[in-house]
Amino acid sequence: MHLHNIIKAVLGSSVALLIATAPLLAHAETPQNFLDGFAQEAKAQNPAFKGFSAKTGEAFYKNKHGGDWSCSSCHTDNPMAEGKHAVTGKVIQPLSPNANPVRFTDSAKVNKWFKRNCNDVLKRECTPEEKGNLLTYLLSVKS
């Protein structure tokens, strides 16, 4: 086999591998991807939007917003800790990506749970700014 044939073969298989893994790579999301997305949406809704605040996110997380539950009712006051469902007692894995790396890596799950839990706590959908502040807070908690 000539050298250029070997190179061709290696290149060929690398391209094939890249094509095969491209869809997987496209789906691997990070908390930062979500922050960027929320920031874009927040800016589109409010041109005066300046950026997210962990402090505002923390207040949002602990507030009952006039209802019976806050985020912390199930996820506890410390998003690095395991939570417990307020009614069923079922253990809930930590919400912060710092304690639980699978959090905020799958947009289908992120959308599903924001939709449900915002309805539970606020009786409405959350705004992109609220989601961004919350995630900024979750990422700021280290212990």
Binding site: H85, V87, K112, D120
Partner: protein
Amino acid sequence: MKISTQLFVATLFVGLSATAAAGDHNYGPYPSYYTEECGSCHVPYPPQRMTQAGWETQINGLKHHYGTDASVDVPASQTILSYLVNNAGWKDKLAPTDPTARMTKTAWFVKEHGASAPKGKSFSECTQCHTKAAVGDYSEQTLKVPASWRSR
């Protein structure tokens, strides 16, 4: 000798698992999509323990599910409903008795557990007593009733 004992135990175990059937209080393993969607907030409930009508009411009412929004998107909810219906019970005692089809209000449940949970507790906390409920095992061997639940 040791290996043959292990083999024997393993064979026995496989044999027992293979004969798992109605009456042994073992309803798992559940499909992963069922555990994922219906086992996040509570343990996934055994489809065999309620009738088709009950499961239809449950799945159609997920948007307002005992004070929470438990909505599931349409392809997933159809898959889940098919699974529940295909494995649903048929006896009268498994039929829903209230408008929201609470499993805990069916005749068999009330007979087995009483009409109300101890104060401050909820019947939805299956794992309080059925320690392996998360995987569908409700057998006597894995049942552990706390003293506070017994004194009633």
